[in-house]
């Protein structure tokens, strides 16, 4: 249908819609009233409740530990200069390339390399204390796949970027929710409860989420 016809039809319909007490103006930014807490403490408490593992030691130590613990031999990463507190990327395991071909050809072949990807290393540009959530944005040197396909995801979060809740973050000028083609809020590892409401971890996304607070 033509856009103008479609919109005209909607306009006619909404003129006779019965919508009790609708506000004439956009209700505007709303931020919930929540008790004052220490943001870092609250974030750790909630993120752990969501089955994430929290670390407060240097990033390089966490990565070494993770590589040993899960016997990692390949990984995807953001560029090192995009991650706060990271000196250099690990040199033991093989780094999987993320520059995905454009167009019809080559994409499936490229994607096949993600099949058994074990570790992903990314930054996190914000967090919500109340829900234990991190915010991960895509961009140059910040591929989406790094937080998505590996079995283990290590995210590095600067402590001053912890907000009280999603709405507190959205109200902050730094939020820029539409900048970068993809922004994702991550609350714990991938999970499902589709079979008999029994929670199992690691469906399509990572099974283990490690957050390093720096």
């Amino acid at each position: 249908m033509e856009r103008s016809d479609f919109l005209a039809r909607v306009e006619t319909a909404q003129a006779s819609a019965i919508l009790p007490d609708h506000p004439p103006d956009d209700p505007g930014q709303w931020v919930p009233e929540l008790p004052e807490v220490d943001l870092v403490t609250r974030f750790i408490e909630m993120a752990e409740k969501m089955a994430a593992e929290i670390h407060t030691v240097p990033v390089d130590d966490v990565i070494s530990e993770v590589i040993d613990r899960y016997a990692i031999d390949n990984y995807i990463s953001w560029d090192a200069d995009r991650i706060d507190g990271l000196d250099e990327l690990p040199d033991g395991p093989r780094r999987i390339h993320t520059e995905t071909p454009r167009g019809v050809d080559g994409r499936a072949e490229h994607n096949a390399a993600y099949m058994d990807c074990q570790l992903g290393i990314t930054g996190a540009e914000a967090a919500f204390a109340e829900t234990g959530t991190i915010v991960v944005r895509s961009g140059p040197g910040q591929p989406r796949m790094a937080s998505l396909v590996p079995l283990v995801h290590v995210a590095v979060l600067p402590r001053e970027r912890i907000f009280r809740s999603a709405s507190h973050w959205a109200a902050d000028p730094s939020a820029r929710m539409a900048e970068g083609s993809n922004v994702v809020f991550i609350t714990g590892p991938s999970k499902t409860a589709d079979i008999e409401s029994i929670v199992t971890l690691g469906v399509h996304g990572p099974k283990h989420l490690h957050i390093v607070i720096v």
Binding site: P20, T133, R144, N182, I195, H204
Partner: protein, 463 residues
């Protein structure tokens, strides 16, 4: 009138193991929702705010739609306005044909169930695979989703285990961890090789053209990242004005739908992959669907379009708990479906659904947007009756006859005698009335009249 009525469908479902499973799962979900809300003091004021946002958006929908479409295009996406299911389906298959698409992955989306997109694409020779674990199980078992959030809440692990042992390359196991691992492995290679990913939209943000999808598994993220083309299908009412409104809706949705503080993955997409980004789809298409929504918006049930598809009303509904989702015959079951289905698709086929309710009001209490579902059910019943009434056509003349009898002492006494002779009583309840009045007692019992009528008691004591 529909060839198969709610009454016939629900009769088939009642008492089966399937609805016992549904009863258990809905009760658990309701407990989770209540404790998640109780754990979050601002929940009640957040619900008020969510309601304001939704109603304001609906009242100004054409402006927000225009703004949204402009924003999507500015971000590099294509927008298509589809008047109905047919237009939406044809647009998607045309995009696929033009770009040499062979394989399609889908993340869970009720709107694509509504338009039967899978069927359409398969008839055009495309391979379509559902990637949400529940929807995948639905697809390989040739079933239909039983609930808008939990499509396989009617199946137990043993049924899934047998299905997977049969269809997937795995040894029999009924451990959900093993079943999940087998599905992950199987779907992973399909994801990575697919040409097109199709998702729904939980909310579109008008001022930025951002579309959001929420999943716990990550299937919507893979669907919108791995293939070169992303097609998002959105019911036209699913907009919010801006990012601040979005976070309110997301928190309300998660706490009401699954009792989570926030869903594991909230995926915000603004346009396709940028020129300097390493991955993501080359193309983004957003299909905005009417398919009966403008008629619903113009009707006395416009408020139903404020629904955010959390499923809370299904979980508390005594009818849904006993009859299950398939009894409704619609992709949208439960209280919300009993209003939405006839409002979108007409009363000729769906006019009996609004009667599938005791009007107890549990749905209104549970609805995060505080939609007055019981009143809307009554609006839809009125609409059904004005169009002939279908399965309930007897109700109008029946009540008129009852009024005539009940207001005439002679007729009333005769009615009671006839009821005693031809009807059937069990203890203090009349379980069957005779003749046409039997329609009333097919689904309910009446209290039996006292041995002595008030009339004669009055004569004895007062006279």
């Amino acid at each position: 009138m529909t060839p198969v009525t709610f009454r016939e469908r629900s009769t088939r479902e009642l008492g089966t193991e399937k609805v016992v499973n549904i009863g258990k799962a809905t009760r658990r979900k309701t407990r989770d929702r209540i404790s998640a809300s109780a754990a979050y003091p601002p929940m009640e004021s957040m619900r008020d705010r969510a309601r304001e946002i939704r109603l304001h958006t609906l009242a100004n929908l054409s402006d927000y739609l225009a703004q949204f479409a402009d924003s999507v295009e500015r971000a590099g996406g294509h927008v298509y306005f589809a008047a109905d299911a047919d237009e939406a389906n044809r647009y998607v298959s045309q995009v696929a044909a033009d770009r040499g698409v062979r394989s399609v992955v889908k993340s869970k989306s009720m709107v694509t169930e509504e338009i039967e997109l899978n069927h359409h694409l398969e008839s055009h020779g495309l391979d379509v695979v559902e990637t949400d674990l529940g929807e995948f199980i639905v697809q390989i078992s040739g079933d239909r989703p039983v609930h808008i959030i939990s499509p396989v809440m009617h199946k137990d692990r043993y049924e899934v285990a047998e299905l997977f042992a049969d269809v997937l390359d795995m040894d029999y196991s009924n451990d959900p961890v093993d079943l999940n691992a087998a599905a992950r492995q199987h779907l992973r290679s399909i994801f990575l090789g697919a040409d097109m990913g199709i998702s729904g939209v939980n909310f579109g943000v008008a001022d930025t053209g951002t579309i959001s999808t929420v999943t716990n598994e990550g299937n919507a993220r893979l669907t919108t990242t791995a293939p070169r083309i992303h097609v998002a299908i959105m019911g036209m009412e699913r907009l919010v004005p801006n990012a601040g409104d979005l976070t309110v809706m997301l928190e309300v949705l998660a706490r009401s739908g699954t009792g989570q503080a926030l869903t594991v993955y909230t995926n915000l997409i603004t346009g396709p992959r940028a020129y300097d980004e390493q991955d993501g789809p080359d193309e983004l298409h957003v299909v905005i669907l009417d398919n009966g929504r403008s008629e619903a918006l113009a009707s006395s049930s416009a408020e139903i379009l404020a629904c955010i598809r959390c499923g809370a009303c299904l979980n508390v509904c005594p009818v849904f708990r006993e009859a299950g989702g398939h009894a409704y015959g619609s992709v949208y079951p439960g209280p919300i479906g009993a209003v939405l289905t006839p409002a979108l698709f007409g009363h000729d086929e769906w006019g009996d659904l609004p009667f599938a309710s005791s009007l107890c009001g549990a749905c209104k209490d549970a609805c995060p947007i505080r939609i007055d579902i019981p009143s809307l059910l009554l609006e839809q019943r009125t609409e059904s009756m004005s169009k002939g009434g279908g399965d309930f056509a007897w109700l109008g003349p029946g009540l008129a006859a009852y009024r005539r009898i009940a207001t005439n002492p002679v007729l009333w006494r005769g009615f009671l005698v006839a009821g005693g002779v031809f009807g059937k009583a069990t203890g203090e309840w009349i379980t069957r009335l005779p003749f046409q009045a039997g329609n009333w007692t097919t689904t309910r019992d009446l209290p039996a009249p006292a041995d002595q009528s008030f009339h004669s008691w009055w004569k004895e004591h007062r006279g």
